[in-house]
């Protein structure tokens, strides 16, 4: 019955198909385009990667053809639904850790993350240990006049300030 219907109305059916294709095909393309990741999404990941050829230029700004291909690869993988982490892992698996702009936190690389706080804390500790003494060889408040007398300008300003204080007091 249905086939008969098809036979009977084959012309109309084909016409319907063509019209349908005309309506839906561009939509399909538009949908594919909408799914295609934007340059900004690609750059967000590319910024964190360095190609092995370029000299300290991150992938998002490098103008070499090879880098353009890498960016296209990122775009393709994003379109395939891969996450940022998966894409980065893919590049690391292909080309090694050097593609990452920031060394991954494992093994010897921990030095990069642990040493800086250790440096500044040690520095602070040494500074505190050296300067915080219960008894001091020098007076805790060195006589300001002796220090100021080394610099004639400061001496003058101290004198001026002293003057102002006195004037102020007199007025008060």
């Amino acid at each position: 019955m249905f086939l008969n219907l098809l036979k009977l109305r084959s012309r109309q059916f084909i016409l319907l198909m063509i019209v349908g294709m005309c309506i839906f095909l561009p939509n399909e393309i538009v949908m594919a385009q909408a799914l295609m990741p934007s340059d900004d999404e690609v750059n967000h990941i590319a910024r964190q990667l360095y190609c092995p050829v370029c000299e300290n230029i991150s992938l998002d700004v490098c103008s070499l053809d090879a880098c353009q291909q890498w960016r296209d690869l990122i775009r393709q993988q994003l379109a395939d639904g891969r996450t940022e982490q998966e894409i980065k892992s893919y590049f690391v698996a292909q080309y090694g850790d050097r593609v990452l702009g920031e060394p991954p936190r494992r093994g010897l690389n921990w030095l990069l993350y642990l040493l800086p706080p250790v440096i500044i804390l040690t520095g602070l500790g040494v500074m505190y240990a050296k300067l915080h003494r219960p008894t001091l060889a020098q007076p805790a408040h060195p006589d300001k006049r002796t220090i100021l007398s080394e610099d004639p300008y400061l001496e003058k300003v101290a004198f001026d300030l002293e003057n102002v204080k006195q004037h102020g007091n007199e007025k008060a």
């Binding site: 230029i57 915080h132 220090i147 300003v157």
Partner: protein
Amino acid sequence: MITAFGYFTIALAFLLTVYGLIAACWGVMQKSQPWIESARLALLMIFPLITVGLIVMLGLLIGDRFDVAYVSSVISQDMPPYLKLTALWGGQSGSLLFWNWLLAGFCALFIFRKWQDDFVFLPWVLIVMFVTLGFFLSLNVFLEIPFERLWHFPDGTRLLSVFQPFGAQSLVPSDGQGLNPLLRHPGMIWHPPALYLGFVGFIIPFSLAIASLVTGRHDRQWLAIARPWTLVTWVFLTLGLVLGMRWAYDVLGWGGYWGWDPVEVAALMPWLSATALLHTAFLQKRRGGFKRWNTALGLLTFVLVLFGTFITRSGVLSSVHSFAASDIGLPMFYYLSLVTLGSLGLIIHRWPSLHVEYEPEFKFSREVLVLFSNLVLLSILMVCFLGVIYPIISELLTDTQVTVGPAWYKRINGPLFTLNLFLLGVCPLAGWGGTKIFKLRKQLVVLGPLSLLLPLAAWLYGDVRNAYALVAVWLAGASGLVILGECTHTVFVLNRQQPGKALKALVVPFQAKRRYYGGLLVHLGIVLMSVGIIGIEGLQEETQVTLALGESVTLSQYRFEFTGLENYQSQDSRNITETVITVFRNDSPVGVLYPQRDFYPGLGMAITHPGLISNLSRDLYAILIDWRPVSQDEATFRIYINPLTNWLWIGTGVLTLGVITALWPKPAGKGGKAHRPK
């Protein structure tokens, strides 16, 4: 012939360093002043000799002498004359010659001063300078010779030599390779010379520190001599770095100014240690003490200069700044090791005698804050050093290549720079010898709420939601207020003292306390520079988009409409694509951007010139990434909004003005004494 003459001048200069070194050593051993005087004259002669060599080299560059190997490697006929002159420092051997010229100039200028009171330092300063000049000149004389010509033999073999080899004919290429397109920019005129001046000048604190260690004269005299020279060198280095930032901003096409490239970091390191030195030198001048610290910093700064030079010239690390691979890597490594180990050995040897006269107590005082800020500067320095050498360590120890990029530097250094901004703001509040915090309540009551206005404005009007940026904006605002408060306070005081003479009150403190107010201006400059850096690092917005003619994209409150594209061939055979973007804000036009892309077919390289509309609150910045041929008139742009970036350049101007104020000579006789208290 002229090339042989040029070579002869630098060879003679090298021989003079050898003679001077022997004369100075002999003078020290025999305690003979005439020998030391003779060595001094030898040093003064080196500069004019290298100047003649340099003029010869410039003549070769301007005269398109393509038979000279260096000329044909950096010059092409289509380059404008100013670029031909700058090509002097566009390649390894030429830039070494330029480096030697500046080094000899700085040394001669320093040696020219009167030495009556400090004669004890002179022979050792001379020895250090002769060794340094001798080493760098030897590179120019034996390994990287700028005057070498191209020769060819009848059998087709080619040779580089200053003098004509037997049986060889001169080879004259019709045109040279030309300067790397990245270097064909007005930035090439100022950035390298300023940076080089900012490097070579640190030989002065270094040689004086060595002289003080060897002679055992550890009082503050060496530092008093070194300080103004260090300050001048420091400001050149600052200008060199900032000019490089501006160049990168204008050309490299990533919307930024600093890429944490190893060579950039290597140039920042001596800046950090010199900044630390200038601060503790001031402490030693005022309070005595800090001898070990200052001597170590004086030595370290120049060692870091040599380290940076090694990194850039040896090819050990890849960078956009590096020179082509060269034979000078190994000698430079030996020299760097010798200087480092020698300095280290000397300071360890003298460590006990650099005894401490004064150490401040650990409390809220200016000296402790300065020390703390020094600690932060040196921590940043160590972070930078770690970042530069870590890729080498990783490859050596684990055979793994890694990249230490901007993300790591920003993560680690960001908080440290912010901490220093805080210290810079707090420091003027603390007095010498200590201040009780509750005594500052008046200032804090005014400063606290006032300083919060800036982050509040950023939150309300700038739509800033980045907590880190808000904190940084607050700190910059507070620091700026403290400095301005410090300036105006004295003005008010003097104005009250002599009412009605407001202008005089404004001028007097600057006249009488040049160094202090110069210092405040330098700090204000740093705060303003920080504002620019916070803007671009914390508040930058960007998008990349492909537009057809007439289409537009909206970023933040701005609409960017692609309104034109033109492609043409320039006279110097560049293929230039110029685009036009009209910018609107609330549908009223703001201005027009002209992003451009120059393609150099011979070299297969493209250089971007961003379009820029700049004012005090933001830069609108667009780069032409790519464009389709005329049929579609479609182009891909990367558009940035960089808030507050102009303050980075303005701050540099204020900083330079501050250094000039601090260094301005005292008025003779009357001026200095006129306001002296009776």
